[in-house]
Symmetry: C2
Subunit: 419 residues, 2 copies
């Protein structure tokens, strides 16, 4: 066994031991740890900014682009945000230990469910140092041990944050190994982490598509992930026009680089000639490039022809593909064929069409009259979010009818757009 493998196995062993301790920690102990962590972040601002300055200097020397440097940078305000985030997670209810659905059986036994931690979570992420604190806090509060692997460009910042985390754990009388940060920047460490089936229960990659694809290929541990977000809005025959314009604009332009941004707009032919010219004006004002089907191009000017590839593209940019469809049936066919099963929304006042869309579209979030941009842990009231999953499997113990199903999030709106 080489040194790296030995090092990683040791981290795994430490995490497994620590997982038993954090699994049984009280909510009070966990909240205490989170609050002290927040205090430590605030008390050590200078040391944290110094550490970050080392990363920033190295980043500039290594020619990181502006966007990456911006993600890497810490300042007073961002540190305050990290501390605030820790306190918010402390304020959330503890999910562990909740007992539910306890029913008496014919034999006299009572059977129910208890919510329990997953065990050890491995998190692999890129530049942003705040993820170190966020991810550690979410894992801690949910009773899990974690092994964190941040980007090598954020090494000094991450280790400085990890020091604050360790102090919080110690202040609450908890083992420091509940949160471990991988100290080597050797890329092979990631390969080891995702294959440590005996020690790691789940891997969560946070980063670009390249990172997630590589990890999915290599992993032997289950991965919580979504690969793309090719999200659709369908404007139905019975849409409220004003609502349709407002949501279609918001879903595309409120932010371009997020996974819940609309990439393809589907418009029923019954309303296309009325709405598409109005929408084209709105998108033009925002500088959005439009790529349309033939009918779309006959209705609006300056729209280039969409190619077959456009329907599967996650632009993450001010580009939108538009297709005019015969109605809800063809819209759902299009979604079935091209969606990444992340988030889809229908704009309609017709109850039957709304409920058909809700039931038949198989995505992790399905919405009625709301912007796809709402697909987010904070907006859903989860309090915080570690990512969005398009995985389906969720079953433990005897598998009956319910075990052969999954759940999706459903959203009922009245035209809300994301502020």
């Amino acid at each position: 066994m080489n040194d790296l493998k030995k090092y990683m196995q040791q981290l795994g062993q430490n995490a497994k031991t620590a997982a038993r301790e954090i699994a049984k920690a009280s909510a009070g102990q966990k909240n205490k740890a989170l609050e002290v962590m927040a205090d430590e972040i605030e008390a050590n601002k200078d040391a944290l900014l110094d550490a970050n300055a080392l990363d920033m200097a190295a980043g500039k020397e290594n020619g990181l682009d502006e966007a990456l440097l911006d993600r890497l940078a810490l300042d007073e305000e961002r540190l305050e945000g990290i501390a605030e985030g820790l306190r918010q997670i402390a304020a959330l209810p503890d999910p562990v230990g909740e007992m539910s659905q306890i029913n008496a059986m014919a034999s006299g036994i009572k059977v129910g469910h208890m919510r329990v931690p997953l065990g050890v979570i491995g998190i692999i992420y890129e530049s942003r140092p705040n993820v170190t604190a966020d991810a550690a806090a979410l894992c801690l509060k949910s009773g899990n041990a974690c092994i964190l692997r941040g980007g090598s460009e954020a090494k000094h910042s991450n280790l400085a944050i990890a020091k604050c985390i360790r102090k919080g754990l110690q202040a609450a009388g908890l083992a420091a190994d509940i949160v471990q940060v991988i100290e080597t920047t050797d890329r092979a460490a990631v390969g080891e982490l995702v294959r440590m089936e005996g020690f790691v229960d789940v891997i969560i990659p946070r980063g670009g598509k390249g990172l997630i694809e590589r990890i999915s290929q290599e992993a032997r541990v289950p991965v919580i992930k979504h690969l793309h977000g090719v999200c659709h809005v369908y404007i139905d025959d019975y849409a409220n026009s004003e609502m349709a314009l407002s949501i279609a604009l918001n879903a595309k332009t409120q932010r371009y680089g997020t996974c819940n941004t609309m990439e393809t707009l589907l418009v029923s032919k019954a309303v296309a000639s009325d709405l598409l010219p109005k929408l084209a004006v709105l998108y033009n004002e925002k500088g959005v490039e439009l790529r349309g089907c033939e009918t779309t191009r006959s209705l609006i000017d300056g729209c280039v022809a969409a190619t077959a590839e456009d329907w599967d593209e996650e632009y993450l940019a001010p580009i939108l593909s538009i297709r005019v469809v015969d109605g809800i049936e063809q819209a759902m066919d299009h979604i079935h064929q091209h969606s990444s099963s992340h988030t889809e929304s229908i704009i309609t006042e017709n109850h039957t069409n709304a409920m058909r869309f809700l039931r038949e579209v198989d995505s992790s979030s399905v919405m009625i009259n709301a912007s796809t941009r709402f697909a987010d842990g904070f907006e859903y009231g989860l309090g915080a979010e570690i990512g969005i999953s398009t995985n389906k499997l969720h079953v433990r113990g005897p598998v009956g009818l319910e075990g052969l199903t999954t759940q999706k999030f459903i959203v009922f709106g009245e035209g809300q757009i994301r502020q």
Copy 2:
């Protein structure tokens, strides 16, 4: 692409199309299909028994052992059992479409969950032809399409049952491809099935450890499974003696070959000298071979020394390993180290110890004062069961605190044993 690959891809494509249809079928349509299937099984008993006779003759010629031939055999009573099973699944409530936890958010949107099918389920099983009907019925009722691959030794029986299933689907106006049986006996078909990520959402293997290990190695599709059932009963200091004897006997001897049978008995030293001699008499009467730790051997006669391997062994036979422990702490350490995370039970009248065990033991079922033999979909009131899962992952959509947890089954008993 070779012919087998083409054939399997075609099945996958058919299943994916059929999955959309069954996902939106009404409960009435699904129940109609199940009831006609049951009628068809009864109306075609002769044809089914003829088909089974071909399999039995071939099995004998190929030298299948008695146990396998018994599992393969159909008779009037077993066919009646299959029809009855189909009707029972028709009588269960439809899990699909259930909406829950719908709450209003600050933005005004309402967010909740909807229960939906998984999509396409691949089921790989051995000899028993009744699995063809059971598995198809569970998948159908839960709104999933399925691709079934039974043992080659049951080929004729499975195809004859599949014919009845197809008639049921047609009678309910549903596509026959909702249930497809792989017709080739080429073993490479299994390898294809478990790697068809684009078409198959989950694989469920039903069979011996060899089958499950092979499939887990090869699969790229998620697998619902448990590999072993090394289940423990811990008799605490504060156990009711009569209850302890009754449950320890039942958990081992009610059936030997099942995954929820106790394989290791842990006894607190405070009660070992009283209970172990009495238990030894009971186990002797049943012909159970005992393998014990040193203390166990000092308390009872005719007990061989347990080796290190015994603590990890799933005997599936009249063999039991016994260890005397210092108390609940050491019992949970032993379980943490050796359990397969399937099912564990504590026998105690002490509330604090009972609740600690319930909370801290990380298995798919954790019980208080009940026999491990209860870990079963029927006994848990699920109505039917397609297997038992020791998987943990269950998360779709935005992942918050709850998404970083899982659920286990918990069982409260008052000494119940399995009849």
